[in-house]
Structures are given as structure tokens and as C-alpha cells.
């Protein structure tokens, strides 16, 4: 029996990350005293993986592993962004983790495995692979949330995340099995072909689609499937919240692209309506509930829900430019989230979590530069020009407008005005209130530098959004 060896070249980054995760696991066993080695190895892994991905950038679509793995411009771009997000997360969380007993080898190994799951999802061409990638990522994330096991909040958050995540996976899997029953295939492109040619049982297919969309909404954290988001964001250690609020969102975007757009593009009329409902409810619930929050992590969780609603605006337009706009939105959203949670991590110190809104009072008097960076992040989240958040919102609104959803766009604009209230409240607290907390702000130089770059990047991208937008459009165009 002759077996053709699969082409391993496109999978090289994945293989490398997997191998390095195992190496770090072993190295950490040997050197228990010095955690810096594990940290440095993880960062080097990310750097080298980025180099591997970059040196083999696919402008053409390439398949391997009997067409289950796809490498295209979309996957390569999203993977590069994922490396950056994970790397920045680890830099921001280093001091925080160190003070809370989380600066351990397992943390880095689990982070790398979660990232591997994201990479698998990003370049999956088969429903089974998509699902396995999702589980790989989720399993590592559950463990990371639960890692601070002495904290009842963290344990509760992990439990909720685990149970609701399992439920969502079940929904998703059930939907996939129904789609398999209707089309007879699990490959994205074959499903698309079968849908195009018309299937015997349209009801079965629609039923599958409903379950798949519900499962996706769960994973994205879109209302009315958002119940886990605030509790998990609030309960998890801030460094872990930062991790699960950033890179997995990119993977979730890839998941939506692969499943809904590559696989079920033929059913666009069916899922468009569902996404409209998800989008409106998310923006409504997210923005209105966020106003009542006094905890910044919880507020940012609700803000995530509303941002997912905005992101869906681009996808539901059903056009290439809309997908590009959504991708742009997701990338910039990750950038803003990194900044916001990075600031919480910066102000936290031993035995103190700066997660309350009041902890930001008078930040301008304590450190004008950090207050300015936070101002940029908040302006961007609210969508105030000239920050990048404005341009991202504009792009998705344009896409929705072009698809003819005028009412939806009006609702979105109104709700983003509502949303501006609670972002600008933080700005007010920072600049016009007296500080409650006079402790000096201390942080490592690498974090300071990166946080500044993060904040300025938001401003710079807002002034010059074109290169990133062009990259997003390019990736979408060369992949679909």
C-alpha cells in the first residue's frame, strides 16, 4: 500500500508551536526556580512561528492533509495577528501573574496550546477540524480561568465557562451533524457545492444552520447567548481575561468565515436574518447594561457584547467588502481590548486589583501619560475620531448600508451614542476627579513601552487606516 506523505510545509507553524509547547513543558520541569526561561522560550516560539508564517505567506489557496487544512492569505494574516495578541498578552500579564502565583510553566504551555487551537480553527477546511480546534482552545482556556483555584470567583467563572462552553459545543456539533446529514459532506467547499446544487431536505439544512449560528453566537459572546461573558471576564484573573478577550476573538472570526461564509454562503438569505437579530440584541443588551456597571472588567465584558454586535454588521452584509470591514473591526477591537486590560494590569499591584471604576479617579494627576493612553483607548472603544474605533465603526456601518439595512444602521448609530456615555465616564473620572489612590504607578520598562505603543497605535491607525484595511480586504479577496 502506497501512502502519499502529506505536504507538511503549510502546517509548519502549527507543528513548531506544538513541539515548542512540549519542549517548554519539559524545560519547566527541569528548571523550577527560574520561570523567566519558560517565559522567554514562549516569546521566542511566538517570534519564530511568526517568521515561519511570514516566510511562507500564501497569496494562493493551498490545501494539505487530504484537504482538511487550508493555508490562504486570510489564515496567514489572522495567525500573525494572533501571535502578536498572545505575545502582548504575556508581556502585560507577566508582573501581574508573578504577584499572584500564576507565573508558572503551565500557564505558558496552556497559552500556547490555546493558541494552537486557534491556529487550527483559523486554517480549517473541514467541520470536524473546526470543532476540534475549538475544543483544543476552549479546554486550555477553561483551565487557565480556573488556575487561581483559591479564589472562589475564579472557580465559579471557570465552572460557568466550562458548562456553558460545553453546551455551546453541543449545539454546534448537533448543527454540524444535521448539515452533514443534509449535504453528505463535512468539507467547507463540498458543503458549499451541495448547498448550491440544492439539497433534498431544505428543512434539515435550515435546522442545522440554526444550531450552528446559536453555537457560534455562544462562542462569540453575542446576545442572547452572552450570559457567560460578564461572569467569566469578571471572575478570571485579569491576565487571563486579557488573554481570552483578545486572540480567541480573532479565531472566532475565522470560525464564522470558514463556517458561514465558505461553507454556507448559499444560505446567506437564511443566516442574514438571524445575524440581524443577534446584532441588534447584542448592541442593545451590551450598551444598556454596561451603563449600570461599576466594575471595569464587567463593563468591558458588556462592551465586548456590543462590539460583537457591531462586528456582525459587516458579516451580515454578505459582501466581500463587508467581511473585510468585519475583519478590520475585529483586529482593531483586539488592539483596544489589549490597551484597556493592559491598563488595569498596570494599575494593579500586590493584593490590589484596579478593576473598579473608582480606581481610575484622578489618573491624570497620578500619571498624565497613562491617563492619555487610557483616554485614547476609551475614545477608540466609543468610536470617537481620530482614533481607529471610529473608522472601524464607519466601515461596518457602510457595509450594512450598502446591503440595504438602513433601519439597522440607524439603530446601531443610536446605540453607539448610548455606549459613548460609559466610555466617556471613565475619561471624566480620570481627568476631573480627585484621586482616591496615591500609590505610585510602577511597571517594567517592556510593559510601559508596549502599552505606549499600543495606545499610540490606536491613534496612528485612526489617522491612517488604509494599510490595515487594504490588508484585510486583500486577505478576504484572496481566500474566498
Amino acid at each position: 500500500m502506497n501512502i502519499a506523505m502529506p505536504n507538511l510545509l503549510p502546517v509548519l507553524p502549527e507543528i513548531f508551536v506544538l513541539a515548542m509547547a512540549c519542549v517548554i513543558l519539559l524545560v519547566d520541569l527541569g528548571v523550577k526556580q527560574n520561570r523567566f526561561i519558560a517565559y522567554a522560550l514562549t516569546q521566542m516560539t511566538l517570534l519564530f512561528a511568526a517568521w515561519l508564517t511570514l516566510s511562507d505567506f500564501h497569496s494562493q489557496v493551498e490545501f494539505t492533509f487530504s484537504h482538511m487544512f487550508v493555508a490562504d492569505a486570510l489564515s496567514d494574516t489572522l495567525k500573525l495577528m494572533t501571535y502578536v495578541a498572545v505575545s502582548v498578552t504575556l508581556v502585560y500579564g507577566r508582573a501581574y501573574n508573578g504577584l499572584r502565583g500564576l507565573y508558572r510553566g503551565e500557564f505558558f504551555v496552556l497559552a500556547l496550546f490555546a493558541m494552537l487551537g486557534m491556529m487550527v480553527m483559523i486554517s480549517a477546511n473541514h467541520f470536524l477540524v473546526l470543532y476540534l480546534g475549538l475544543e483544543l482552545m476552549s479546554l486550555a482556556l477553561y483551565a487557565m480561568v480556573a488556575m487561581r483555584r483559591d479564589s472562589p470567583q475564579a472557580t465559579e467563572a471557570a465552572m460557568k465557562y466550562f458548562i456553558l462552553g460545553a453546551l455551546a459545543s453541543g449545539l454546534l456539533l448537533y448543527g454540524m451533524s444535521l448539515i452533514y446529514g443534509a449535504t453528505g459532506s463535512l468539507y467547507n467547499n463540498e458543503v458549499a457545492l451541495a448547498v448550491m446544487q440544492g439539497v433534498e431536505s431544505k428543512a434539515l439544512l435550515s435546522m442545522g444552520l440554526v444550531f450552528v449560528v446559536a453555537g457560534l453566537a455562544f462562542k462569540l459572546g453575542a446576545a442572547p447567548f452572552h450570559m457567560w461573558v460578564p461572569d467569566v471576564y469578571h471572575g478570571a484573573p485579569t491576565a487571563v481575561t486579557l488573554f481570552l478577550g483578545t486572540a480567541p476573538k480573532l479565531a472566532a472570526f475565522a470560525f464564522v468565515m470558514r463556517l458561514l461564509i465558505e461553507g454556507l454562503q448559499g444560505l446567506v438569505a437564511d443566516w442574514q436574518g438571524m445575524l440581524v437579530v443577534l446584532s441588534v440584541v447584542s448592541m442593545l443588551v451590551g450598551n444598556l447594561t454596561a451603563i449600570a456597571q461599576t466594575n471595569l472588567k464587567r463593563m468591558l465584558a458588556y462592551s465586548t457584547i456590543s462590539h460583537m454586535g457591531f462586528m456582525l454588521l459587516g458579516i451580515l452584509s454578505g459582501a466581500l467588502s463587508g467581511y473585510g470591514a468585519s475583519m478590520f473591526y475585529m483586529v482593531t477591537y483586539v488592539l483596544m481590548t489589549l490597551g484597556a486590560f493592559g491598563m488595569i494590569l498596570l494599575l494593579s499591584r500586590r493584593g490590589f486589583e484596579a478593576e473598579h471604576l473608582n480606581d481610575f479617579k484622578g489618573l491624570n494627576q497620578r500619571s498624565p501619560w497613562h491617563a492619555f493612553l487610557m483616554l485614547l483607548v476609551m475614545f477608540s472603544l466609543a468610536g470617537v475620531p481620530p482614533t481607529v474605533g471610529f473608522y472601524a465603526k464607519l466601515a461596518v456601518l457602510q457595509a450594512a448600508l450598502q446591503a440595504g439595512f438602513v433601519g439597522l444602521v440607524v439603530v446601531a448609530v443610536l446605540l453607539s451614542v448610548v455606549g459613548a456615555f460609559y466610555y466617556l465616564r471613565i475619561v471624566k473620572l480620570m481627568y476631573f476627579d480627585e484621586p482616591l489612590d496615591q500609590n505610585p504607578i510602577k511597571a517594567e520598562a517592556d510593559m510601559q513601552l508596549l502599552l505606549s505603543a499600543n495606545g499610540l497605535g490606536i491613534l496612528l491607525l485612526g489617522i491612517m487606516p488604509q494599510p490595515l484595511m487594504a490588508l484585510c480586504i486583500y486577505s478576504i479577496q484572496h481566500s474566498l
Binding site: 500500500m1 501512502i3 503551565e106 476540534l132 480546534g133 475544543e135 483544543l136 483551565a143
Partner: protein, 212 residues
């Protein structure tokens, strides 16, 4: 009626009888042993269908591992059979209702006639073990590998969450013990000789300290 059909009916009869014994046997050990017989005859029926891989797996996994586990549990637990049978009449209506639902479902499924297809006649060299292996390790090697990584992550996560040094353990590392030096254990304190007055004062001070 050819020979294969006769064998099938014999195996089926044994399977049904042993399955019945599993639920009716008074002793849990007998029930577990009847379960072994049921698995074994089910494996034989699979062999008749030329699904030898499934048959072997059934014997290896269920007969070899799962039932042994059952027996272990039965032997280590103190099961009071009389106590377990206590609520029989009380739970009977519920059990009957559940049974009726299941029976209706089965009847509904069996009544919708689907065309049954006879197993394909394969040539003698065909091995479905090989075919399954090819499918798993060639066509589906990528998901297979990811599933393996998933299991690894499950192990790491479970250990990371459960293993830690407890504060109240009395474990002492022998390596640390032998490295102990004299100055770790003995502290020389030079104190002036005490007179009666100083001793009184000292006691008063310690009393004050205790109160303070």
C-alpha cells in the same frame, strides 16, 4: 435456511437470554458475568457481518477492560441486594411509563420501513481493520493528531489544577535533611548572669508584654 442464518439465530438467542440474565440475576457478580456473555455473543454476531475489527474491539475493550472494572467495583463495594430491591413497587409506575415511551419509539422507528441492504460481498483478502486504519491514519490523520493534542491538554490541565503542595503536609525532603549544618539547629545566646532583682524585673516585663 443456510448455515449462517442458523448460527445467527443461535447467537441471537444466547445474546437475548444473557441480556435478560443481566437484569434479572440476584447477585451482581452473576449479572456482570452474564454481561460478559452478552458482549461475547454480540461480538460473534459482528463477526458474522464480517466486521472483525469491531468484534475484536468489543472483546478487548468491553470484555477485557470494562467488565473487569465492573467486577472490581462490585467486589469492593458493599452492595446490599435486599436494600436495593426495596423501592421496586414504588418505582414501578415510573419505570413502566419510561419503558412504554421507549417501546413506542422503537415501534415507530421499526414501522417506517426502510430498504435494508444486504452486506456487500467482499473478497476474502479484504480487511476492514486495514481499511479503518487507512481512513484513520491517512485520510483523517490531521483530526486524529489534534485529538491526541486535546488529550495531552486535558492531562496538563488536570494536573495543573489539582497538583500543588499542601501547606499541612508533614513531608520532609531527605535531601534537605542530610544537608543540615550545626548552625542551622543551634543558636548560641550570650546572656548576663541574672540576679534576683533583674529576674523580678524580667518577669514583670514579660507580663506586661503579654498584656500589651
Amino acid at each position: 435456511m443456510n448455515f449462517e442464518t442458523i448460527v445467527f439465530y443461535i447467537f441471537s438467542a444466547i445474546l437475548l437470554l444473557s441480556a435478560l440474565r443481566v437484569v434479572t440475576a440476584r447477585s451482581p457478580i452473576h449479572a456482570a458475568l452474564a454481561l460478559v456473555l452478552a458482549f461475547f455473543t454480540a461480538a460473534s454476531i459482528w463477526l458474522l457481518l464480517e466486521a472483525e475489527f469491531l468484534a475484536i474491539t468489543l472483546v478487548l475493550v468491553y470484555v477485557g477492560a470494562v467488565t473487569v472494572l465492573f467486577l472490581f467495583v462490585v467486589m469492593t463495594l458493599d452492595i446490599d441486594v435486599a436494600k436495593m430491591r426495596e423501592g421496586f413497587w414504588r418505582h414501578l409506575p415510573l419505570a413502566l411509563a419510561a419503558g412504554a415511551v421507549m417501546a413506542t419509539e422503537m415501534i415507530l422507528v421499526l414501522r417506517t420501513r426502510t430498504d435494508t441492504v444486504a452486506p456487500r460481498n467482499l473478497d476474502t483478502h479484504y480487511s476492514n481493520t486495514k481499511e479503518l486504519g487507512r481512513l484513520l491514519y491517512v485520510d483523517y490523520v490531521y483530526p486524529f493528531e489534534i485529538a491526541a493534542v486535546l488529550l495531552l491538554v486535558a492531562i496538563i490541565a488536570a494536573i495543573a489544577l489539582t497538583m500543588r503542595r499542601r501547606k499541612d503536609t508533614k513531608y520532609i525532603d531527605p535531601a534537605d535533611q542530610v544537608k543540615v549544618r550545626r548552625q542551622d539547629r543551634i543558636r548560641l545566646v550570650s546572656m548576663p548572669a541574672e540576679t534576683a532583682r533583674m529576674k523580678d524585673e524580667g518577669e514583670r516585663m514579660t507580663n506586661e508584654e503579654e498584656r500589651g
